[in-house]
Point group: C2
Chain length 211, copies 2
């Protein structure tokens, strides 16, 4: 009984599931305690307060994903490959841990305020950095990296939301090629898209351009 790390992990997982299903405000400490099979007081052995629980769980998971994004961006792959792998990472996260995806990207956490701006802790920052590097390498035309990150994130998160609502029936992982192509089309200028066409199935376009 002396090692509480298993209990803590269970509390975190159950809390995320409830937050995703009902929202943070509508989830009570009692809800979480009951879901985890512990007494209410037990939660305060692991977290200072409900707010502390929300913040730590969010920032932890957010940082873990940021690490993945940074790793993908740091492999030195061509832009189109980076985009494909990033879209795949988000789509997989959604399909394999829908509650976590919802908690991180559908529930808005503006109130947290203090989300770190380091790419190591913030996946949005890490995405922005990947776009910035592609610009510096001349793979895509210069533009506001924040805008490009917004466009790319929107192309992944909004289909995920539609799928949550049941509006889209196809798994995001199956939509991967379509979404990847949309991200490339929305973020790359003409030249970059021509260059990546061969590898990433923009055949139609390449034929048109080379004829």
């Amino acid at each position: 009984m002396r090692d509480g790390s298993r209990t803590r992990a269970r509390i975190e997982a159950d809390a995320i599931a409830l937050f995703a299903a009902k929202g943070v405000d509508a989830t009570s400490i009692r809800d979480i305690a009951q879901a985890s099979g512990v007494a209410e007081g037990a939660l305060y052995r692991h977290f200072r307060s409900k707010d502390d629980l929300v913040r730590r769980v969010f920032l932890d998971r957010y940082a873990a994903l940021a690490g993945d994004v940074l790793e993908i961006g740091g492999r030195g792959l061509p832009f189109a490959a980076v985009v494909e792998l990033l879209v795949r990472r988000f789509a997989t996260l959604f399909e394999e841990d829908r509650a976590l995806f919802t908690f991180l990207f559908v529930n808005q956490h503006m109130h947290l305020g203090e989300v770190p701006v380091e790419a190591r802790a913030n996946p949005v920052e890490a995405i922005k950095q990947a776009f910035g590097e592609a610009m510096e390498r001349g793979e895509i035309p210069r533009a506001d990296p924040d805008l490009l990150a917004a466009l790319a994130l929107g192309l992944v998160v909004q289909p995920a939301i539609f799928r949550l609502y049941g509006r889209i029936g196809t798994p995001l992982t199956a939509l991967l090629p379509a979404i990847t192509r949309a991200v490339l089309a929305a973020t790359s200028g003409e030249h970059a898209r021509v260059r990546v066409a061969a590898t990433y199935g923009l055949r139609h376009k390449q034929e048109a351009l080379s004829s």
Copy 2:
């Protein structure tokens, strides 16, 4: 004093502002009453309950926007013009009534459940319909209209969220050409984009294709 419609309009506007700023759950009846300068009981002369207030205000505004979207889609304009006008409508809504935009598209309202699926009452449905019609007219390649609607909405809503957070400093109305181009690129196949290029400034692409 007998006509409460002015009071009701004030309550609705103040409620939307609070919902956008703090979220629905964190906004109390007392908060709204205080902001509107009325007693708590007065709210129950206009709405059955807090939930009824949220639902009615949301569905009303949602339907009003759906009407605008339908009207734009029904003008018989070319696809690129429709997209440009739709993006403009959303960008203008955001810049002119940020609280309403946030309430409608940033705060998620899954719990409402009973959002009508008629295009007359649901802007997402109306957008989907516009894409469906463009497909039938052969302006864009056949694809899942729900996916296209998701991609288009994501390209508008996510930049709006970035702007709310302060991550993007440029007004959305100034980003209109960039976002419109992104929507066209993400949703149109090759042929459609060629066709719309002349009108909507995809000159670079058209030159490449016609050379």
